[in-house]
Amino acid sequence: MKYSSFILAGIVIFSTVLAGSAQWRNMVPRRGNVQQTAVRTVENVQEKAAAVKQDVKSVAASVTKTAETKNKVKAAEETETEFPGTNDQWKDSLSVDWIAKEAESHKVPPHFNNRSVLRGDQHDGHAYGRYTEADLRLWESETVRLVMEGSRIFHDAELLGSTNGVSCDMCHPDGANTHPETYPKYQVQLGRAALLRDMMNWCLQNPCRAEPMSGDDPRMRAMEAYLNATSSGKPMKYGKH
């Protein structure tokens, strides 16, 4: 009985800490606290919305170019969609054929011809027998779109975030001398085995004096797609110097 008050206090403190822990709060909403949970949910949503807003701003700063695109991002900011900005260039293709425009300026080797997968009813009942012309068109248009997006960024100092006017094509016309087919390789000057994107980031930081891009930056992914497309037909020889 002497210690019961201490035990009680201990229990109270423990449960308070437990209730206060973010994990607990998110994982097990307790009965009888519906109102509190609702408040917390609202808070969470607000936090997420703020994060999305932040995303929108950073993406807008890096990706958008035309006033048209900027307007779209602004609209996206207002409606707070899940992944705004990143795909805006692609949405543009509904109104402006920017891919054709880009292709007019910068030539890329043709997409692989996949007609051999169209085998009529030979494989009836199997996935590979079911592909149609429409499938091939979809594969090609989507892939070419990613590649041309890369070309657009590769040739534009502004989109690269270059601070001295230098863009990739100034040393690498048509992606020449980039050799994506030789990566990964030990890059002597970096002192480690490097991926193509590591070298791209070196180029961004040094000749372009730009910020490096994260590996999943939509610009980085698009430029990798472009460089791989331009080295089409070359045999993969990883480690080659």
Binding site: S105, H106, N164, C171, P173, D174, W202, C203, N206
Partner: protein
Amino acid sequence: MSIRYLRENLETRVERERNEFFAGLVNLDRRSFLKVASASMTAALGAGAVGLGSFQPMKIVLGEDADGKEQSLKIAYISDSHLYQKHINDRFANALLRAVEDVNAMEEEPDFIFYGGDLAQLGQPEELELGAEILSGLKYRDRLKIMVGEHDWYYDMGEKWQSLFGSPRWTFDLKGVRFVCLMSVNEEDFWTPAGLTPMERMKTVAGLDNQAQRPFFVGDEQIAWLEKTLADWKDDQPVVVFSHSPLYKLYKNWNFWTDDAEKVQAVLKRFQKCTVIHGHTHQVLTNKIENIHFHGLLSTAWPWPYAPKGMPEWTVQMNRSDPFNSADGCGWGDIRVSTEGLVDKVYALWNRKPMFVSAAYLNEEEGAVPPARPNLPSF
């Protein structure tokens, strides 16, 4: 357990011998210095650490006239600096400053200094003014002859460039050689139909791989002017032609190309000693078509990769450049016209040994030394 090296490896030996050499330099008189030096040099050569002739100034034997007086002609060149405005990019400006210093430090006084075009990157007046300012630091600035490039031209169609440097085509005679400079970077009007602004037009032309532009051409009017300019020149008198684009067809996608090159070549064909010097390609580039010799110029800003196809067999490609060294693959050089009126070309590559392309090599003379081949392909 102690480790004993029974055999010294090459690096260790060279290192040891070098250390011994430098240790031996302390308190030496001249005679013993030479002894140590020659012993050390022999050791280093034996180890293959030093190539014969490395770091030696290049000696070129020039012709002499009847009195034994040298009559050859020496031209220093700088090209393709691609300057941005000062506050945007200081690297390219520094590179041009370096080239100017190198030319000023030349041992022999050049007869004139030639600038090969593309002084500016986007044809902006500020860029051209910056270039003019830097070039005015040349010791022999009154001997500067300057050619226009497409990067100088397509923002205001040459207005600013011409106000600074005069006509883009010119000619003069010096020591029995006729020099002619052509404006070879004309393009058909692609901008009016597309409704481009001057800056959009400039940026389209500035993109080497930009297919929205048209191929370069000299133009019939200018070819007629060239013919007239050379009308009083005899077939055996030497001619040197300057043009920004190569006056032959190398690779159309990058405009390493002049669309009416054959017409220009037809005018030049009759001369037994004719050399074309061109900028634009930013690399060691050599060609010969019939009796016409062609030489490219190095850039001070960045090297271009070699064209993926159609490379002239005369070209010994320069070493692949190191992206981690912004001066590598760049440089300046000189052009030497011998008494015979033929051009020997030196590519003074920063960071590398100079490359020397002699007229004798192009004429396949007996005993002619071909340009030194780098041990790695250009990639």
